[in-house]
Symmetry: C2
Subunit: 353 residues, 2 copies
DNA sequence: TTGAAAGCGCTAACAT
DNA sequence: ATGTTAGCGCTTTCAA
């Protein structure tokens, strides 16, 4: 069906020049006579030549591919084939249920694409899957890894660092690892939420925290609490959620049971805020009249939620673009030392407060 | 920092055998003395050898990579750099806002992973992006493409077919193209929804259709209408949505305005069903007591929606596994002719009816 | 400015 | 059963 693809050799013959010259033209190396350039270009056109990536990679030791890894902390305790598949499905479903991840992917692709780089999507939720990531990179299938962890005690970063593979993390790892990372000043985010709710005149505040095994959750909570304390409210009721809509509903329910008179709630992400809004409404509270709600992330649910959410925005696109840039520099051998870049959150006010 | 990676040659020297023998062991080719196998295996261990993928691909003409393409039909009318970026962001956000896509990715990865294959995530929403996909494949960066279109008049399938690239589509293309595809019997899905609502005693039914530019939407609508007609209800009010939560809310609002006494609604996907439920509740209707709601897809929102949705399930994991299998066969040169595989929808009854 | 030629690391056909 | 060898298609010195 498909005849053999034309090679550099074919183009060279067609243009009456050497392989080297064609290669120079293809790669935009200067020192090529404009006339010959044109000649070659036409030969490329005629033959329909497309450079073979494998051959190129073999000599340049670059693939133009990076691994985009969504990493969990699973220990693969249920390593039966079936159980493993189920674990994978649940893990992926959870990742995709949060539109926050969509912003991450969008940001990464947006930065990679103009540079002719491509992301390979990998999930590292079990020991086996983590090993696959390492192997993939060690084989030179990708030039480096961008890692988004869903757990603080994720073992993957240490594995990557140990193998000396170019890596940039989204979020600071819980145990120090010699890797670059990009992060948000989560504590400031918690502070923004508290200050805003207080400024709105709310005094009986509660909070739905993220999973406390995640550093970001702890920080958001700490920032919220500290600010409340500084304003004379030493005690803030907390319920722990899991960053999912379900868990947000459950947590809000608990808090309402224990504190029926609450008038404001800060949730550690938008998805849980949406859940909180649903429960509040079911329990007869109006948002924001009776209870003000502040979310976190500014993901797409913040806009589609009823009412649209006041939320603490993470500049995800900037963060991922920075990740891609740092990785790129690391791959090219510039930037021998790991660096960290921390971004500031921004309060986005909508209708839920 | 990282010393030169060991090659086959290094391992061969270490084990005192030839490169070919090491290669055979690595690739699990039989006809190798067990003792020598062990010898080689130990040498691999000692040297920390990992085969170079580029070198291997160069000779096998396989990469073990497939492009997972989410394709739109954008004409790139606003091709300014900035506008393009915005278009990309919006496109990706929309794709990720629907958890249905999560099931697609999960299914694809679940099938690819045990076969040591990997998906490169690509978005083809503009002419430029489409060209990038073609180029990527023509360079041999990936062995083939799995394509999920969001529009019926997507130009990508024809481009892929024209270039003779191994491809499998999710959903039948609107204009015939010589490519394999996997699809759902959407019409039957619409029928299931109608029969279920009628069986529940609902008679004043309406429907929120998907974008009518999408074949699947038309089919679901047709199946619903046909069944209604066959049961003596020739007229069914329709409002067109865009598969988004927002559009579902808007459509439901319209329908309620025009038909305040409606007692059942079929929406063409779960996300719009969720929107419909929200609007119904805001307008004082109880679900399912006053109005029964049937969604489509059985994505994760069907479970998280309040109430949990009765919905028409697509066996997405089976469908994507089939896609991957068909592509694999196509890549290996088996299966010269395109085939189509159509799956049956299943009604999943929950609390919204 | 252009060409000749030496590999990059691997697989596979062929020889033994 | 194992080794020898010829490329796969490209980039990149090194000469000219």
């Amino acid at each position: 069906m498909s005849r053999q693809a034309p090679t550099l050799e074919d183009v060279a013959r067609e243009a009456g020049v050497s392989r080297a010259t064609v290669s120079r033209v293809v790669n935009g190396v200067r020192n090529v006579d404009p006339a010959i350039q044109e000649l070659v270009r036409r030969a490329i056109e005629r033959t329909g030549y497309a450079p073979n990536k494998a051959a190129r990679s073999l000599v340049t030791r670059r693939t133009g591919t990076v691994a985009l890894v969504v990493s969990g902390a699973g220990d693969g305790s249920g390593t039966e084939e079936a159980a493993d598949t189920g674990e994978h499905t649940a893990f992926v479903a959870r990742v995709f249920a949060d539109p926050f991840f969509g912003r991450v992917v969008s940001g990464v692709v947006g930065h990679l694409r103009p540079r002719a780089m491509h992301p390979v999507l990998m999930f590292a939720e079990t020991p086996q899957a983590r090993q696959d990531v390492i192997t993939y990179l060690r084989q030179g299938s990708a030039d480096g890894a961008l890692v988004v962890s869903t757990h603080a005690d994720d073992p993957l970063p240490a594995l990557l660092a140990g193998a000396g593979l170019p890596t940039v993390l989204f979020a600071r790892p819980s145990r120090p690892v010699a890797l670059s990372y990009v992060d948000l000043a989560h504590r400031d985010g918690g502070r923004l939420a508290a200050e805003h709710l207080l400024a709105r005149g709310r005094r009986r505040l509660v909070t739905v925290a993220g999973p406390l095994g995640v550093t970001a959750s702890q920080e958001r909570l700490a920032g919220f609490r500290d600010t409340m304390a500084r304003h004379g409210h030493p005690y803030v009721p907390v319920a722990e959620g899991g960053f999912t809509l379900d868990s947000g509903m459950a947590a809000m329910g608990e808090l309402l049971d224990a504190h029926p008179d609450l008038d404001g709630v800060f949730t550690a992400n938008d998805l849980m805020a949406q859940g909180a809004c649903q429960v509040l409404r079911e329990r007869g509270r109006r948002v924001p009249e009776d209870v003000a709600v502040v979310g976190f992330d500014d993901s797409s649910v913040a806009v589609t939620c009823r009412p649209p959410l006041t939320t603490v925005r993470q500049p995800v696109e900037d963060m991922t673009a920075t990740m891609a840039r740092l990785l790129d520099e690391q791959i090219r051998g510039e930037r021998p030392e790991p660096v960290s870049v921390v971004f500031d959150p921004v309060l986005v006010v909508r209708d839920s407060t």
